[in-house]
Structures are given as structure tokens and as C-alpha cells.
Amino acid sequence: MLTNLQATTLTEIIDTGVGRAGSILGQLVGSQVKLHIPSVGLADLTELHECLSLADTSDLAAVRQNFSGSLNGRALLLFPKSSGDSLARQLIGDGSDITSMDAERQETLTELGNILLNSVLGSLSNLLTLRFDYDVPVYAEACLSDLLETEAVDPDESDDPSRVLYANAHFDIEAFRVTGNVLIVFGIASFDQLLTQVDQVSLQTAES
């Protein structure tokens, strides 16, 4: 179970990382990025789509990055495919038909995901004094359930591998009609370690 204080503290920590990522994204595309307050909670992987503010979860472009170390989990940058195309067009920066440059589009979005996901996870790592080892990010196009997979996020988890702690942040870039989500999913086995560090931060904040 997550206490109100733990949820609030974790939300603020994720918000710091997302804020940093949003600032970077804004610089890269030359436009304002509107960030929504992150949501944090516990869910079954199969029900996670209900917790996200995605209108359509059936046809997504995503960059997925697994991480391990202090915590095990998966971070995803999720877009409707049309948003992914729009973003790639802005980043590649010419008038070419983006769908005809599939490899370049995917590479561009993969690197964008690399920068943004590392920004969020790195902020989490630094604020909570954790250490993450990252897998190389991977681009994929699929429905949300396939992107999340129903296998355990945490390979060490033997009890209830489908139960996860998630942090989700939604953003919009109105100028380019881009909408997206940063989603981080932690395996239940990582819970104790994460919440111990979150409690430490709460304590330090209260004492200062």
C-alpha cells in the first residue's frame, strides 16, 4: 500500500524529472510543452490503461527502456502514431514526407525517448540516491497492452508479477498537435527499496 505522504512525495519527485524532460522537449521542438501533474499509484498491468489519459491505446508509437539496479522496471515514452510523426517532422526539420523515411523517423524518436526517459529516471535516481543501469532504448509500434507486456516487469518477482507501481505524466505540444505520456512502471519487488528512499526524502523535507 502507498500512504498519502508517499504518493505525494513520489509525485513531486516524478514531477521534477518530468519538468526537466518537458523543458528539454520544448527546446528541441522550439515550442511550449504543457505538462500535466503526474499520477502515481498501484495497478494490475492489465488494468493500467484505465489509469492513463490516452484516448486511444490501440495504435501507439513508443520508446521503451528497461532499467535495473537499485530498482527494476520499465520506462516508456508513448504517443499516438500521428503525434510521433508530427514530433519526428519537427526534429528532423525538413519538409519531407516523414512516413517515407521510416528508419530516420524511428531513430529520431528513439533518441528523443532516450533523452526524455533518462531525464526523468536520472532525476529520480539523483533525488532518491539510487543507481539505475539502462538497457538500450527500443522503438515499437503496438497497442498499450503489448507494449507493457503481461510478463513480470521485475524478474525477481515471484508473487503477483502483474502488480506494479506506476508513475504517469501526460504532456501536450499544442503548436504541433502532439500529445504523449511518460510512463514508468516498477515491479512490486522494487517497492520496499523505492518507498524506503521516498520516506527518507519526506523526512529530510520535514526536517529542513
Binding site: 527546446q27 526534429l91 530516420e104 528513439t110 536520472g122 543507481r131 538500450v136
Partner: protein, 125 residues
């Protein structure tokens, strides 16, 4: 100005950073991972290395370690999306002259290159 070996698995980054480095009048050679980069260091003798950290086959940290092990003294700068303090410290401990966070800005990169090359020249004298 200088021959720079750019090491990054992302073709997007290789393209954009090459363009930036060329605009600074540097000659650029590229490698997509640390293993290829090691071969190019020995074959091409660049003046400076600009390397990513997270790459398949051989990552940036393993690459920096290999440069040390082989006694290769080419100065290196790291450019990475990984903002963890521990990653920065590890790269600097392995001899990187600077650690820049992606997305890298032109003036910041230019200054880091200038400083790394100046130190390298002083060390050779």
C-alpha cells in the same frame, strides 16, 4: 582544426553532432559503438573523442576503460542522456575531460573541445 572521432549508436545524433562539429571546422569520423571506435582510434589517430555512454556491443564506460588499458591517450569528452551523478563521476574517473548532458548545446561543446585540446597540447609539450 581537429580530427574528432564521434561515437554514438544513434544515427540521429551522429548526423546532428557531425553537422555541429563540421560547422566548427573540425574533421569528423564516426563509430556506432565502443568496439568500432577502438579500431578507429588505432587506425585514424584522432585528436579528440566525443562519445556517448549507452551503446550496444561496447558502451561508453567500457570504451573509456579500454582506452586506458591500451594506453591510448586521446582526450575524450562524454555526451550522454544519462544525468545520474554516478555516471558522470565514473566517466570523469576514467579520464573523460568533460561530461556533457544531451541535448548538447553548440557553445558548451565548443568550449569543452577547446579546453580538452589545450590540455592535451600542454601534456605533449
Amino acid at each position: 582544426m581537429a580530427k574528432i572521432l564521434l561515437v554514438d549508436d544513434s544515427s540521429f545524433q551522429r548526423k546532428n553532432l557531425s553537422k555541429l562539429l563540421t560547422s566548427m571546422k573540425h574533421d569528423v569520423i564516426t563509430a556506432e559503438n565502443g568496439e568500432v571506435a577502438l579500431e578507429k582510434v588505432e587506425a585514424e589517430n584522432p585528436d579528440l573523442i566525443l562519445t556517448d555512454v549507452l551503446m550496444p556491443v561496447m558502451d561508453g564506460i567500457s570504451f573509456l576503460r579500454a582506452l586506458r588499458t591500451r594506453g591510448l591517450k586521446t582526450p575524450s569528452i562524454v555526451s550522454s542522456a544519462d544525468i545520474q551523478t554516478a555516471t558522470r563521476e565514473e566517466c570523469l574517473r576514467l579520464g573523460a575531460r568533460a561530461f556533457l548532458t544531451k541535448p548538447v548545446k553548440g557553445p558548451e561543446l565548443e568550449q569543452a573541445i577547446s579546453q580538452a585540446l589545450q590540455v592535451s597540447t600542454r601534456e605533449r609539450v
